[in-house]
Symmetry: C2
Subunit: 196 residues, 2 copies
Amino acid sequence: MSKKEQIIKESIQLFSDYGYEATSMTKIAEQVDIKKPSLYAHFKNKDAIFYSAVKQVTGEYVDFVLTTIDQTKGQTSKDTLYNVLHHAYTNEYQTEFLGEFFYRFVLFTPNEVEAQIKPLIKRSEEKLESALIKIVEEGQANREIDATLSSRIVLRNYLFIFNNLDVDVRYYSLRGSELEQYLNDIWSVFWRGVKN
Amino acid sequence: MSKKEQIIKESIQLFSDYGYEATSMTKIAEQVDIKKPSLYAHFKNKDAIFYSAVKQVTGEYVDFVLTTIDQTKGQTSKDTLYNVLHHAYTNEYQTEFLGEFFYRFVLFTPNEVEAQIKPLIKRSEEKLESALIKIVEEGQANREIDATLSSRIVLRNYLFIFNNLDVDVRYYSLRGSELEQYLNDIWSVFWRGVKN
DNA sequence: GTCTATAGAAAGATAGAC
DNA sequence: GTCTATCTTTCTATAGAC
C-alpha cells in the first residue's frame, strides 16, 4: 500500500471515531507513522484528505451493496430484498468500517466541505436506488408484492429501513443475535405491509 | 430572560448548526453580546454550557411529545399513533429547533462529554417509550392492532419510524406537502403491517 | 518525500481591575 | 458580572535543508 493509500485508510478510521474537527493532522500523521508536514507532500490540505476519504468510502459502500444484490439475485423478490438487508447488516466490514463513516458524514457534513462531498453521496444513492427499484418491480410483476402500492412507496419504505437501521444499530450497539432479532422485527412488519 | 438562559438558548442554536468542536466560546459570546471571559462567570467551562444545552433540549423534547400524546388521547389507537407522529413532524419548533440538536448529539456525542450526557438521553427515551407502549397495548385490546404481534415488536417499529423519520426529514430537507407525503408513505406501510 | 523549525491564527481558560 | 490583557496549548500550513 502506498503512503497516500495509508493516509486515506487511517484518516477514515480517525474521522469515524472523532469527527472532522477533532481529527487533527498530527493524529493522522502519527497513525501513518510520519511527521505532520510530510502529509502535505501527498495532499494539499486537510480538506483534500477528507474528500479522498469520502470518495473511497462512498465507492466501497456502493460496490459492497451492488455486489450483494448481484449475489442474491435469482431468488424471489422477497428473498432478495431480505438477504440484501441481512447481508449488509451482518457483514463486519460494512457495519464496523464503512457504515460508521458513511452515516456520520452523510448526516452531519462539516460545513467547510459540504459543497464538495454532497455530490459524491448523491451519486452513490442514485446507483443503489436504481438497482433496488428493479427488484421491487419484479416482485410486483410476480404478484409477491401488492401492485396497488406504487413501487416508489415500497422502495421508499425499504430504503427507510436500509438506511436508518444503521442509525439504530449504532445507537443501541446491536450485535449478533440482538441485531438479528431487531432486523427481523423491522423486516417482518415491513413485509406484512407490502406483501400481496 | 437571564444572561444564563440567553447563553443556553444561543448555544443550542450554534451547537446545532456547527457541532460541538466548531462552536467556539467566542461565537457563543458574540451571539449573547458579551465578551468571552464573561461566559465563565456563568459556566465553569464549555462542557458545562453543552451539558446545560443538552439538558434543556432533552427536557423540552420529552415535554413536547408527552403533551402531544395527552392532547391526542381518547381517539382510536390508530388515530393517536398517527397524530402523535404527524404533530411531532409538522411542528416548526420541534423540527427546526429541538430535532436538529437532539439528533445531532444523540447520534454523535462528542467524546469529551459522552459519559455525562448519555444518561440524560436515556432517561428521555424511557419516558417516551412507557407512554407509547400503553397506546399500543390498548390498540391490541381493542382489536385495532394484531394481537399476535408482541407489543414490543409494534412499539419497536413505531419508534423506528418516530426516531428515524427525523433523519430523512433533515437529509432530504422535507417540508410542507413533501413532508406530508413522505410521512404518509411510511405510515401507510407500517399500519398495513400491524393492523388487525 | 521526509524531516526540523516555525509562522500565524485561534482555541479554552485565567488574572485581576472596575 | 463584565471587561482588557494575557497565558498556554493546539491547530493548519509553510519554508527550507537533506
